[in-house]
Amino acid sequence: MGEFQVHRVRFFAYVPAGIRCVAHSTRSARLALARTNGALEVYNFAANYFQEKGIPGHETRSTEALCWAAGDRLFGAGLGGDISEYDLEKLRVKYSLDGFGGPIWSMAADPSGTELAVGCEDGSVKLFQVLPDKIQFERSLDRQKGRVMSLSWHPSGTRIAVGSIDLLRVFDVKSGHAIQRILVDRRLRGLYSCECVVWSVAFLSNGTIVSSDSVGKVQFWDSEKGTLLETHPVSSSAVLCLAVSEEEDSIVVGTSEGAVYQFQLLPVKWGSAESKWVRTKPFQHHTHDVRAVAHSATALISGGLDAQLVIRPLMEKMHGKGYDAALRKFTFPHRRLVSCAKKAGLLLFQFPQHLELWRLGATNSAGKDGDILPVSRAPEHLLQLKSKGPEHICCSCISLCGSWIAYSTASRLHLHRVHWENGSVSLKRVSKVPKLLSSAHQLLCSADSTSLFVASDQGAVHVLKLLEPGSCGHLQTLRPNSGSAEAVYLLAASADGDWLAAASGDWEINIYSLRQFKPHCTVPAYNCAVTALAIHPVTNNLVITHSDQQVFEFSIPDREYTTWSRKVQQHGLHKGWLERDTPITHIAFNPKQPAHILLHDTHMFCVLDKSLPLPDDATPLMNQTTLKQLSEKARRGYAHAFKICKKYQPLLFVDLLEEGSLVVVERPLMDIKTQLPPPVQQKKFGT
């Protein structure tokens, strides 16, 4: 059916950055997540946990705290001392404001979402007012000694609990005075005691303050009397973060040993009114520090320095043992970081601050299934392209012939012409790149390498003309008829150069005619995020995958869903397919087999053969091993449309090269782990 030579690539040394803080918004069912490199991601829980937005990082920006306020506005503050608001439509920092208190360690919005309290290095707690399009400094609470590591508003909005070094304070917001000062136990190490950092606090509505500290304790305090209510020694190292559920009956804490614990408020006896906090469930999903936790209505969310985001649904909040109750782990971004020059056999890898260009190896022997062929030409690292300035790269692309490389940071688009001269490669920067008003969110070269498509704000796509020997000019700007406010984040161009499809953040897909440079049609709205787009080179059908794992095929010439797509919707996709937990991130086609669609997510790649019948839930989805044992004739009766290969994982990229061989880019988790700093030493039994 399909025999491929597979270039199995593991030299993409991508290491995801650790997670620094998270903020969950129950209102919009979204999770904002900041990484240690300053990058911000927004996950949409309603769209099957899809990472729908991303703002690239910045060398000097390190976000220490995130919070949602005033509806769906997102604020961040960091050690740079700035408070920033993020523009989630244009995917960049909207503005920054200096807090004038030195590095900011913590930030929290008051219960009404109209005020932000930030805790600064100099010991001050400053209040900022959230105005419709900016924030404004309001006043400072009484300055005390010691940096403010953590703070939490009382649900009434009248008090703030502040965690500092060795102590906890309670401020009255109205007067600005500290009304309570609580000393926290230090740890005794030999004769000396070392300081105790209160990493996180939470103020409950009944006046109880919960604190977690570097000594490894979770403690409950009475804010009125300043007395200790309960102590729970959780860890021998620090307890770095805590979060309380909205009902205040459950607390989640994360430790530097990678463990996450749940505390629950349970009645002392069955039916008794008196209840007590009990440490109930331990989870060990992380290997390194858990720096951030959040508590949604149904799940515990934790993120750590091992760059994994873990969503652990609570079984007692779930109805039955279904797909929704399964653990989710996210390690890799839901974005494409690799681009492939199919004609030249080149791969371009995108790192936060540089790009790498590799040439694939070659072999001159053949073999059968499962064979590893001798490599006659080793892969070659051709060049490394460092981006200048502190801004991180947000997108990149290489043209199919490998002669143009484009990348963009938040503020600038860079274009390079690659020259190939008898085996050596040289790079020439195109100096006069047209100044575009807005940043690029996705880049794509046309199939004939004559134009570059730049996805931009407000649904716009700029078309740049690439001219030989090495210059370019702005040709057109395509805008949707509907006037979308969201940025375009996915692009797909047809092989014949006639059509361009663009998906924007509001999940609208616009199709433009490149002959006339005007909108051709819009794909019928579907209420789930688009994860990948591609246009078939022969039929000009647009294949769309959504984060709920649906696959659609839309005929651009006919402006309607194809009969196959309708058939799929009518028949329904296989349960096993719908319950995968990572989105399809790339779609490719095999020009020799027009009925085939190549799809991949992190854990599998699949050749979807449209000519074969769709499987129903009774037949196994993964049937390759069974089929391989059957005779040629018997296979025919058992084959179905989904030919899934799980041999390579985790997958970052799969594409089909011009000559028909397949390139898969893997990034083994083990390789990432070796790049991480050593975790906290733990005594293991038997070692």
Binding site: V9, G361, D369, Y638
Partner: protein
Amino acid sequence: MAALCEEFTLCGLIASAGAGAGQGILGLEPGPDSDRVLLTDRGRTATLYKVSDQKPLGCWSVKQDQTITCPAVCNFETGEYVAVHDNKVLRIWKDEDVNFDKVFKATLTAEVYRIHSLPYTEPLVLFKGGAVRTLDALLAAPQQEIENVTSDEVIRWSEAFMETQQPVLIFTTEKNGNYFVYVQKVNPDILHKYKLEQEESSHPLSFTAYTKNKILTLLCLYSNGCVYKMSLQQSVPEEEQILSKSLLLKIVVSDTVLKRASLAILDIDHVAVLGCLDSPPNIAKECLSIWNTKFQTLQTSKELPQGTSGQLWCYGEKFFLTHGKVLTVIVYKCETSSLAAAVGKLKDTQTSGMRTVSSYVNWNMLQEEDLASPRAQQSVTAKTESKRTLRSRRNNVAKVQRDTLTVEQLLSDIKDSSQNDIEEELRQFLSNAQMSDFQATVGYVITGLMNRCKTEPTFYPRNCLVQLIQTQGLSYSLCPDLMAVALEKTDVHLLQLCLQQFPDVPEAVTCACLKAFLSINDDSLQGTNVNLDSVISYIDITPNDQVEKKRETVQNGFSSELMEDSCDVQLTHKSHVMYTEELCPVGPQKAALLNAILHSAYSETFLLPHLKDLSAQQVVLFLRYLQYLYIKCSEKVSMNFPGMRSPTINQIMDWMCLLLDAHFTVVVMLPEAKGLLFSLHKFVRAQVRFHSELNKIEGSLQELQRIKHQKDFGLYSIEMLELV
């Protein structure tokens, strides 16, 4: 056997509305569908209840100073409700009407006794004077003159029927202890009048009637506890006849007196009686009982200690009666009576035969099952033919009215429809089956089908049975007859399905199936649609038989050469061995059937005695097949066949051992089995030796495994991948 099943309370009754005083309620009429009833109390209120949910859906009341005098009924044609208050004021309203004062109102010139509503026809209005009008005729001219038919007699009871598409109203009147029966046909307008024979010691308590073969029969319960049957012969309309009565049933012993009693017909041989037995020395006790009129036996009874009003309604297999201060619903089951049932010897697997929506029983629809003579048979078929056209029309109507088919309907259709009709209905039924007790329903349906299969040898709804089995809601214990019937018809496909789907096939049946499978000729299986999933991995099922099977490479190191290492194998044996190894001794269909047997669950102790029933030939054939499987299986690395439902090596071995255990003495004596046993023995011995050798080098093998596992692919490799 008729039986009373569960009982539940539909609603409480308000004492002020007359319920507490033993007067009961004014009326209870069927609602727009079989699950809804309209309750009218003696006060001002009519309420619509959903019976299965035990909750009211709507409630309508007249003004303070008015009283409803005639129970509200549902006009099935229009879905409206009709009631009369203050004897003369007619009201018509719909579900969505809230305020009773604003609904349609018509004031009539005469007092209304009752309104009768029948499906597919206009409601009939019976006036106290005995005149009858259809509702539409009355509404056309509300102020029309209403004649007086029954010179100051008082109407005691009335009921309406459909007889040959025409509504018939029957009512009884009383005057000075004399009872009269009137039969009023509406179209054309014909009135018959009969007089009941007078009885000195007792008086009629309750009436009920049914129609069969165009003959109206009236049943009357007297206060002395006797049920009399009177057929209303329709001769000349004008003259008044004296009705002759025949004793149908005697309910009470002589000295007791029945009070406040009601009689209801359940089916051809069953009546229900609700009454208060008042025998002077004891206190009165009230009970509900079901009687078989054919055998004069009491089927079941239930005491109602809190007292009733003596009113009994029965709609759709449910009794409605006032019990104390509540309206109680008692579900009953009533099956066609036979002597066995009457004396309680019938197994309780049959489902009920009759399910009526209204109290009206049309016995023309009943299948006469005990007709034996060919002439009668013919007439029956003719009748079913004519009925089919009728039914299809009725089905269309049913489809328009409600798109889901009820179980009751399906069950009654199973009794007399043709196979194709049943199949069609069943498909429709299964396609929109979203019920909670799906399993029980499917069980009912299959039992119904089985009953018909047993009584009618030519009836065998194969596709229906396959459909039902594939719902996966069945088990052997739910329908023990199914496999027996399938065995009788040697329907191997059905048997295969049963063996695959049922978790609880008894060993005796498994063995019977095995015996049947082994004795079927391979050629006769050629055309059957046996599922070949389980054999596909080792038998090539291409149609041409002369497939040259190429010898597969032996994967786990075993080769047939090992078997030949001892020199005592004779040449003939060797060729025999080669033969069994090469070709499957049975065809693919038979192999698939045998695989189904291998897969079924069993307990050794129970299986062994039944296995002894196999004949020597069958044993040898089965053994040869098992040996073939065993050899094929051990050729695979994984020691298992790929694919669904293929037998595992453990199953093969277990069955081989069982078979040898059961027939060892026979097999040893059989000359043709000798070679087989011999080669089996050799093969097993070789395997044992091979495995013991493998054990010796286990350490080295593990090292190999470790080496293979550790292989690193490096940063780059080019591999071959085939997707099939």
